[in-house]
Symmetry: C3
Subunit: 376 residues, 3 copies
Amino acid sequence: MRSLMNPLDLSVEEIDELIDTANDIIENPADYFEKCKGKKLAVLFYEPSTRTRLSFEAAMYELGGEVLGFSEANSSSAAKGESVSDTAKTVSCYADIIAMRHPLEGAPYVASRAGSIPVINAGDGGHNHPTQTLADLLTISREKGRLNDLTIGFCGDLKFGRTVHSLITALSRYTGIRVVLISPDELKLPGYIRRDVLEKNDIPYTQTEDLVSSIPELDILYMTRIQGERFSDRDEYNRLKDSYILTTDKLEGAKSDLAVMHPLPRVNEISIAVDDDPRACYFKQVRNGKYIRMALILKLLGLSKSKHEIIEQTDKSVYVKNILTCKNPRCISSCEQELAHIFKLTDPEAGVCRCIYCEAIADKRFDYIAGEVIKA
Amino acid sequence: MRSLMNPLDLSVEEIDELIDTANDIIENPADYFEKCKGKKLAVLFYEPSTRTRLSFEAAMYELGGEVLGFSEANSSSAAKGESVSDTAKTVSCYADIIAMRHPLEGAPYVASRAGSIPVINAGDGGHNHPTQTLADLLTISREKGRLNDLTIGFCGDLKFGRTVHSLITALSRYTGIRVVLISPDELKLPGYIRRDVLEKNDIPYTQTEDLVSSIPELDILYMTRIQGERFSDRDEYNRLKDSYILTTDKLEGAKSDLAVMHPLPRVNEISIAVDDDPRACYFKQVRNGKYIRMALILKLLGLSKSKHEIIEQTDKSVYVKNILTCKNPRCISSCEQELAHIFKLTDPEAGVCRCIYCEAIADKRFDYIAGEVIKA
Amino acid sequence: MRSLMNPLDLSVEEIDELIDTANDIIENPADYFEKCKGKKLAVLFYEPSTRTRLSFEAAMYELGGEVLGFSEANSSSAAKGESVSDTAKTVSCYADIIAMRHPLEGAPYVASRAGSIPVINAGDGGHNHPTQTLADLLTISREKGRLNDLTIGFCGDLKFGRTVHSLITALSRYTGIRVVLISPDELKLPGYIRRDVLEKNDIPYTQTEDLVSSIPELDILYMTRIQGERFSDRDEYNRLKDSYILTTDKLEGAKSDLAVMHPLPRVNEISIAVDDDPRACYFKQVRNGKYIRMALILKLLGLSKSKHEIIEQTDKSVYVKNILTCKNPRCISSCEQELAHIFKLTDPEAGVCRCIYCEAIADKRFDYIAGEVIKA
């Protein structure tokens, strides 16, 4: 059994395979009508997210399976304070695979360790949302015919935008990628992503505040929403906000085969008028999201004709158990009962450890001499 | 693709066809078990309505299809402020047909224009609820064997009762209809319906405050609830309320083949004791509601053996875009982003225009010389 | 048609039959994949209970049926004040069987009398929860190979624990049962259960405050949660609470084939560490709960190959209608409109009557001379 917490849990080959399966589903849907007959997907949504939930449900139904679960914590045992682990163990008796959305980082990971069926992370707080990234990759692949040799502009809130961080990281494994970071100064891409992802992988990038002048060179324009609340300076916000709203005239200088993407839901950052432009791909993303989820469900249930043997990566890393404590208040370890605090030693020289649930860096340096070494 | 917003969107022939299909389903249910296999109904209920939602769900399941969606706005993207149009475009990627309930008038119409799949209006505020009316027509047809030559009494709140207005309008297209309007003076049928529907179609009607003396002549008695809040004069309410509660003794003077109907849910306006009377048809209405929805789903999905070719009515009316503004605070145009304000010139001589979403009359006279003419 | 309100509605033979069916399902699941094809289960949950609801849904899906309903009252017509009877009559038009959870005692019973399809009580306030008891019996039967000759310890809140009262009552019909009641003095088993169930059936029992010293003699240890709120004396609570938390070391003296059970959800009354002990059976209970519900659905739909002819017990008891009034504020008769107050004369000599909905004892003595005798 294998779960999906993070897009990088999948090798480039496995992602290619998922994309191939998704394309085959799109071309031959009838071949898949009964693939999951008798199987059940449990959608455990501790916070509402209609788009993501309905996408998973549609995916399972188009595979001939059934769906059960809940769409809000208050209609769930969570209201009675049941732990995520117990819920996962219980639901393992009712379903064949879980898609979990949770406000706390690492909650789906805890579920995948406690339960006996595959778990798909459908969004854990501001941490990960791998199926969104897979939908983005499928869309790029279908629109451009490749995942290499692309100039991709990311526009809007690059500081807090989880989908942006995740897609940049996923793209960093391909060749010939160029990135244009378009945002107000206050919402620039965090330094650690620039360093650990872009620079570390020698991905050329530029940073600018100007959307219009950046558009002509782009193959992909990935728009995101700018929330006024993010600005310390209200005037600054009012000065800038319109310049990050994509309109038909801003698209005039763009390539004829530009692909405009957006994770949705949008508020007003893309004018409705743009929807009719053939370069608008954000609703194609929605459809692709369903198909890649179908491919993923098949893969995790072992039902896809896989070229690759799926095996758990045996992990030689050092793990530190109940020595360090995660200080991230949004980490599942802050409330799940009797949950061990486990950190992975990610940089032995520097003594840097990261929480295995939320990946937050430990507040203390850990010098490894002899710690309890466990398998995560 | 065709949607259903208003019972009058359907011709009398199409309604006959739906009734024929419903009757065939009732007689040969097994013929329909797999009709919608592989199809999905999206129930998008922005406000709760268990009866209507479960009726649609049961209908789709009895056709072999699947159901997804939400039963309250707070478990939907709407909470994140997504527009109805974007939700409709998204759900078009997940389902084959939509049943939408929304507190704002015209919201399902906006969805039908934005999405790429049929939309059924499952109730938009106080505006329309066409499947209730279709259920009423099927019930009358089954109980009386005809939709012509009937004396129908409407009792209760005729002023605010949406189902009453809608059924009267639907019946106005049949011959030999007589209407008895039974209500307190404060809750009389609005003048515009008496004039534009009853009088315009030469339908004889009487108005009375007295239920008991009206019953003997009736073929159908359509009961509705009287809400105390509607009365300005509390004493008046207390004086009248019991006289509009249907009891077994009030039924003594009635015809032996009277059909007592009620849209449900009831509070206390029909005594439970009446349920055992063979003339009580309100739970038959519930069952018929399921069957007519099955027929409607089949028709809109193009799966019914239709005698009539379904074609969009080409519409020669004049539409006024972004010149007049709808002042109805319950109209979807009051909050949907970038939604054009479009009015239909319903009375060119008088310069009367109606909002295409909620049908409210424009607050300004519009003298048509040359306005932008668009296809609704 | 027959409904299940109380575990004792089933004879010992019928319970054996359900257990046989459940075991057959576990061994030959494929034989049951299509048993309920075309059937619909309505889950009417007026209060949230994810575990129970998902168990019913999984059960129906594994039988090839469909599910509809609601998981909270606020997304149901109940919000509009519809009576339970009307909802049951309506849902009888949409589904083939109902599983109802309701905060008011007797509500599912009212539904079973009003509707035309079988109703399963999925928990009515503090009153009954028969499918939990059936799951417990199946688990005991599978773990121990018998329901006779067992020493069973009940630990925790024995005063308010509905599942405990219900299981003790169900076990009282078997032979060779010994009961050990382990609880703080404040939460002892109510006297009426000790008298009317244990003593009346000559079941030997002991009462103790000490879990550890009781464990060695037990075949079954049934743990329940102790809620601090239940204690009048906070210090008393703090003194005791840890002694009722089951830990691995407390299990040291236990039999090697002890079965540790818990109705779940747990809070902290069983340490997570115990989960890995082979004697931990509470997640097996979850799985068994699904299988016994499958067996029950089949039985109530008349789809199980039954050795016993299912017949309504003809009831010669005396019922008192609208003479006594139920004073239990949690009884459905306190709010359901036009619901007759009906009491069953359970002890003619003493003039004791019990409400047929919630089984509360009437506050007045009723001396039977001639009362209206009706069929419940």
